[in-house]
C-alpha cells in the first residue's frame, strides 16, 4: 500500500475520480461515499442536463487551482466529461466566528452538535437550487441565439452542477447518514414535478426562452449570490470556504444575465433607431422589426424580480434570527459592517402590510435579517438596471426600466395575500385581473418571444433580437467557435 502524497496548497488533485483540493485521497470514507454518489449524478446529468449537446465540444473553463492565476483554464470539453470537483477557498487558521452569540470563538472545523439540524437545512436548501436551474434550462441549447451564448449557458450549467457537488461534499463529510440521504434526495427531486418538486418556488417555474434565462441569471442567480455571500460569513469554516469559492463562479452567472439582457436592449434600440421609431410603446411596429419591445422586457423583469424576492422568505423570521445568533449565516458583507455583530437591541425598518396599508415598521434587527438581505439584493439589482438604462439613454430613446415595488406580485411574506401594482398601490382583485397583463408577460407576449427563438449557430453570427457581445470569452475573437456541435 502506498501513501498518497498531498498536492501543494491550492492545487487541485486530479488523481482521484473527483478532483479536489482537500486531500480527498486521505479521507477514504468521504472519497468512497462521493464515488458511490457519482454514478447517480452522471445519470441525473445525462437525463436532466442540457438536452441534445452531451457530445458537443464546449469551450469551458475548469478550475485547476483555487489560486486566482490558475483557476480559470479554458479548453474544449464534452460536458459529461467535465471535471466536477470539490474546491474550497484556502483555510485561514486564524479565522474566527464573526457574529452572533459565539462571536470571537475560533471558527468551527466540525459541526457544533446544537446547530447540526439547522446547518443541514441550510446546506440542503442551497444544494437543491443548483440542479434545479440546470433542469429548468435544459431545453434552451436548441434555440441558442449564438454559439457564444450557447457556451455561456453550458458554462452556467456545469458550474451549477459543481455547486451541487460542493453542497453534497458538506453533506457527506459532516452529516453522516442523514447527510447521505439528503444527498440522494437532491438527485431525486425535479424542477416543476407535481410529486417531487424542488424546494423553492422560483426553481419550479419554467425557463421558456432566452430572455427568461437572462432574467433568471440576473435576478434569481443574484439571490444565490446573496445567500452564498451570507453563508460565506458562517462560523462553520468548511461552509464558509465552500461558499467563498462558489461566489467566484457565481459572478460569471451574473455576467451572463446582465449582459444578455443588455444586449437584447441594445439590439432593440438599434433596430428602433434604424427604422426611425421614436415611441417605445409602439409595440407592434417594434415587434415587426424582429426585436423585443422595451415594455415587454420590463414585464419580464417584473416577473423575475418578484419571483426572486420570494426566495428570501418571510420578512420577519425567527429562523433567520436563530441562524444569525448561532453564527451559521451572517449578513451580506458582515465583516465590513461596523456594529456589535450581535444585534441584541438593534432595530431595522421593514416594509409591512398593516391595517390595510403598506408602510415601514421598525422591527428587531435580528428577526428582520431576511428583509435586510433582500434590501441589499434590491440595491444590487438596481445597479444593473441603471446600467441597462444607460444603454437606452445612449441610443436616445425615452424609456427607463424600473424595479417594481417589493410588494408587487408576491407569493411569500407580508404581501402574499394582497394585490399591488408595480408602483406600490393596493388594488382590488378585479382591477388586478384587468391590469395584470400590462405588468406580467401575457400568453401573447410569450408566444411572440418564442417566435424569435430561432437558433443561430454560425460562427460569429447572432440572432436578430440580440447584439454581439463587446468582448469574447477568454479574449477570443468574435468568430471563435465556442461550441463544436457535432450533431447527427
Amino acid at each position: 500500500m502506498t501513501t498518497p502524497t498531498s498536492p501543494p496548497a491550492g492545487a487541485v488533485d486530479y488523481s482521484t475520480k473527483i478532483p479536489n483540493n482537500i486531500n480527498l485521497a486521505d479521507d477514504s470514507r468521504v472519497l468512497k461515499a462521493l464515488e458511490q454518489w457519482h454514478p447517480g449524478y452522471i445519470d441525473w446529468w445525462m437525463t436532466m442536463g442540457p438536452e441534445g449537446f452531451q457530445t458537443s465540444d464546449v469551450y469551458l473553463r475548469t478550475a485547476i487551482s483555487i489560486d486566482p492565476k490558475g483557476w480559470a483554464k479554458f479548453d474544449y470539453v464534452k460536458m459529461p466529461e467535465y471535471r466536477w470537483g470539490i474546491l474550497l477557498a484556502p483555510q485561514d487558521e486564524s479565522r474566527l466566528v464573526n457574529f452572533g452569540a459565539s462571536k470571537g470563538e475560533k471558527a468551527w472545523q466540525e459541526v457544533p452538535g446544537e446547530h447540526r439540524a439547522a446547518l443541514r437545512r441550510l446546506v440542503v436548501i442551497q444544494g437543491d437550487t443548483e440542479p434545479a436551474s440546470v433542469e429548468q434550462q435544459r431545453h434552451l441549447g436548441t434555440t441558442a441565439p449564438s454559439l457564444y451564448d450557447m457556451r455561456n449557458l453550458f458554462q452556467v450549467n456545469v458550474e451549477e452542477g459543481r455547486h451541487l457537488w460542493a453542497m453534497v461534499y458538506l453533506l457527506h463529510k459532516y452529516f453522516g447518514k442523514d447527510g447521505r440521504e439528503e444527498a440522494d434526495g437532491l438527485l431525486q427531486r425535479r424542477s416543476g414535478d407535481a410529486d417531487k418538486p424542488r424546494m423553492l418556488g422560483a426553481f419550479n417555474e419554467t425557463t421558456p426562452d432566452w430572455l427568461s434565462f437572462f432574467m433568471f441569471t440576473f435576478f434569481t442567480d443574484r439571490d444565490g449570490k446573496m445567500q452564498l455571500e451570507s453563508l460565506a460569513q458562517s462560523g462553520f469554516d468548511p461552509m464558509s470556504r465552500t461558499c467563498r469559492f462558489m461566489l467566484t463562479e457565481e459572478a460569471h452567472h451574473m455576467f451572463v444575465g446582465e449582459t444578455g439582457v443588455s444586449r437584447a436592449i441594445e439590439r432593440t434600440c438599434e433596430a428602433m433607431k434604424g427604422a426611425g421609431i421614436e415611441d417605445p410603446y409602439d409595440i407592434n411596429k417594434v415587434r415587426a422589426l424582429g426585436v423585443i419591445d422595451l415594455p415587454t422586457i420590463q414585464k419580464k423583469a417584473n416577473l423575475h424580480f418578484s419571483l426572486s424576492l420570494d426566495l428570501f422568505g418571510s420578512e420577519i423570521s425567527t429562523n433567520a434570527a436563530n441562524f444569525y445568533n448561532g453564527g451559521l449565516k451572517g449578513r451580506y458583507m458582515e465583516t465590513k459592517i461596523e456594529d456589535d455583530h450581535a444585534l441584541t437591541n438593534a432595530k431595522y425598518p421593514v416594509l409591512k402590510f398593516v391595517d390595510g396599508q403598506i408602510r415601514m415598521v421598525e422591527e428587531p434587527a435580528l428577526t428582520a435579517l431576511n428583509m435586510r438581505l433582500r434590501d441589499d439584493y434590491v440595491k444590487d439589482c438596481q445597479g444593473g438596471v441603471n446600467r441597462w438604462n444607460k444603454v437606452i439613454e445612449k441610443a436616445g430613446i425615452k424609456f427607463a426600466l424600473t424595479l417594481p415595488s417589493v410588494a408587487f406580485h408576491r407569493h411569500i411574506g407580508e404581501f402574499k395575500d394582497v394585490k399591488v401594482s408595480p408602483d406600490g398601490k393596493l388594488l382590488s382583485e378585479t382591477d388586478w385581473a384587468k391590469l395584470r397583463d400590462q405588468w406580467i408577460p401575457s400568453i401573447d407576449d410569450g408566444a411572440f418571444i418564442e417566435s424569435l427563438m430561432q437558433p443561430c449557430w454560425d460562427r460569429g453570427k447572432y440572432a436578430g433580437w440580440i447584439s454581439a457581445p463587446k468582448v469574447g470569452i477568454d479574449n477570443k475573437g468574435g468568430d471563435f467557435e465556442y461550441v463544436k456541435i457535432h450533431r447527427a
Binding site: D67, P68, F74, K225, T248, A251, M254, V471, D479
Partner: protein, 402 residues
C-alpha cells in the same frame, strides 16, 4: 536614451465601467487592497496596484484587463475613475513619452527603439492587434522561469548553432503576444563590476504557449562566439532557473484580423516572431482569408532554423520562400532577389489595404529589402516612398533588426 523613474510614463490599470458588472470578484481577490468601489464604479488605485495580475483571470467579464499609458503627473485618480461612464481614450503622448512607451524600463526601451528605427518613423501597432501587456517584470523584480527544453534546430554538421529554448513559468502570469520580446537577466557581472545588460529575445511561440495552454514560451537563439548572453542561453539545461523580464513591445505585433495579409521577411533567428504568427494563425484562425507569405533567408538549408518543421507547414497556411546564399554551385541568392522575382504578386498584395509587411533579422538586410520593394513598386506604377510612410502610420509596416 535614459528615462528616470520620475519622468517615465506609467502603465495604469483601469476597469471598463461599460463592461464591468460590479460582481466584487476583483476587490475580493486583490491581495493589496488596490481595488475599491462606490455605488457606481469599481476602480483601481494606481498607487497600490503592483501589477500582480491576480484579479485578471477570475474576472467574468474581461472588463478588468484594461490599461492606459499615462504621462507623469497625468495618472487617473480614484475620484476621476469613480465618475466615469466609459473608459477614456489612450491620450496622445509626447515624443519623449512615446519613446519610453514600448517598454517602461529605460534600458530595454532603448534597445527596442534601436531595433525599430529601420521603419524610418514612429512605429504604430496594427489596428487589429490585441492589447499587449508590457513591463510586468523588470530587472529589479524579474520572473523566474524554468527551462523546459533546449534543442538544436540547425544541422549538427553546420557551423551555425541555433537553439529552440522553451521556458515555463508554472502558475505565474506572463501574458505575451506574437511579436513581443522578453528580456533575460544574466547572472554575474561584467569585467567592470557592473551587471550585464539585459538581453532581448523575440518570442517564437503563440500567445497561448509553446504548448497550448502550457504557460510557457519559446525563443530562437543563435550562439555567437564569445557572446556572454547567447552562450549562457545555449548552455541552459532542462530544469535550470532563469530570470526574465518583460514582456516588451507594443507595436511589432501580429494583426488579429483574419483577413490581413502578412508578408514576413526574415533571416536567421529573425524568423522567431514569424514562427509565432504562423502558429497563431494555425491554432486560432482556421480558414483565415488573409495570406501569410514568408521570405526566409539563410546561407544553407542546414543553417536555416526550423528547416525540418517548416517543410511540414502546408502551403495553404504559409506561402514559404526559403532562400539560400551559399548553396554549392549556385549563385548567391538573398531574400530581396527572390522578392524581385515575385514583383506582380507582391504589388498586388501591397495595393491591398489589409496587407502588413514585417521585416526581422540582421540589420544588413534592411537596405536590400527596401530597395527591392522600391523597384517592385516602381515597375508596377506604385510609389514606395509614399506607400511606406502610409503603411507605417497605419500600423502596416514594421521593422525589427539588430
Amino acid at each position: 536614451m535614459t528615462i528616470s523613474a520620475s519622468t517615465a510614463p506609467k502603465k495604469q490599470h483601469l476597469i471598463d465601467p461599460e463592461i464591468c458588472i460590479r460582481c466584487n470578484t476583483c476587490e475580493a481577490t486583490c491581495p493589496v487592497g488596490a481595488v475599491t468601489h462606490d455605488d457606481t464604479n469599481y476602480v483601481v488605485d494606481v498607487e497600490k496596484c503592483n501589477y500582480c495580475m491576480d484579479c485578471i483571470s477570475p474576472c467574468p467579464t474581461g472588463s478588468i484587463d484594461n490599461w492606459r499609458t499615462v504621462a507623469p503627473g497625468r495618472v487617473y485618480s480614484l475620484q476621476e475613475q469613480l465618475g466615469w461612464t466609459e473608459l477614456p481614450k489612450q491620450e496622445e503622448l509626447s515624443e519623449a513619452d512615446t519613446a519610453a512607451m514600448e517598454a517602461l524600463e529605460a534600458e530595454v526601451g532603448a534597445l527596442l527603439a534601436d531595433a525599430h528605427k529601420g521603419s524610418g518613423g514612429k512605429a504604430v501597432a496594427p489596428a487589429s492587434a490585441a492589447k499587449p501587456s508590457v513591463n510586468l517584470f523588470s530587472r529589479a523584480k524579474p520572473l523566474t522561469a524554468v527551462v523546459q527544453g533546449n534543442f538544436r534546430i540547425t544541422a549538427a554538421s553546420s557551423e551555425s548553432d541555433i537553439r529552440h529554448i522553451v521556458l515555463g513559468y508554472g502558475d505565474q502570469q506572463f501574458p505575451v503576444l506574437e511579436g513581443q520580446s522578453i528580456g533575460v537577466v544574466l547572472p554575474g557581472v561584467r569585467a567592470d563590476g557592473k551587471p550585464h545588460d539585459i538581453r532581448l529575445y523575440s518570442i517564437a511561440s503563440a500567445r497561448d504557449g509553446e504548448k497550448r495552454n502550457g504557460n510557457n514560451l519559446s525563443l530562437t537563439i543563435k550562439r555567437s562566439a564569445g557572446g556572454v548572453g547567447s552562450n549562457y542561453m545555449c548552455e541552459l539545461k532542462v530544469g535550470d532557473k532563469i530570470n526574465i523580464t518583460g514582456p516588451f513591445g507594443s507595436t511589432f505585433l501580429m494583426p488579429n484580423d483574419i483577413n490581413a495579409n502578412i508578408i514576413m521577411i526574415c533571416t536567421g533567428t529573425g524568423s522567431a516572431p514569424f514562427r509565432a504568427f504562423t502558429e497563431r494563425r494555425r491554432r486560432a484562425m482556421e480558414g483565415a482569408g488573409g495570406k501569410l507569405v514568408m521570405y526566409f533567408g539563410a546561407r544553407t538549408p542546414e543553417e536555416l532554423p526550423y528547416f525540418g518543421p517548416l517543410q511540414k507547414v502546408p502551403q495553404s497556411l504559409l506561402e514559404k520562400h526559403l532562400v539560400y546564399s551559399r548553396l554549392p554551385g549556385q549563385p548567391k541568392e538573398y531574400v530581396q532577389d527572390r522578392m524581385r522575382k515575385h514583383g506582380p504578386a507582391l504589388t498586388k498584395l501591397l495595393r491591398d489595404g489589409g496587407t502588413h509587411v514585417f521585416i526581422c533579422g540582421l540589420r544588413g538586410m534592411e537596405a536590400g529589402v527596401d530597395e527591392a520593394l522600391s523597384d517592385i513598386c516602381r515597375a508596377a506604377g506604385l510609389d514606395w516612398n509614399a506607400l511606406k510612410p502610409d503603411m507605417r502610420s497605419s500600423g502596416r509596416y514594421h521593422v525589427e533588426t539588430y
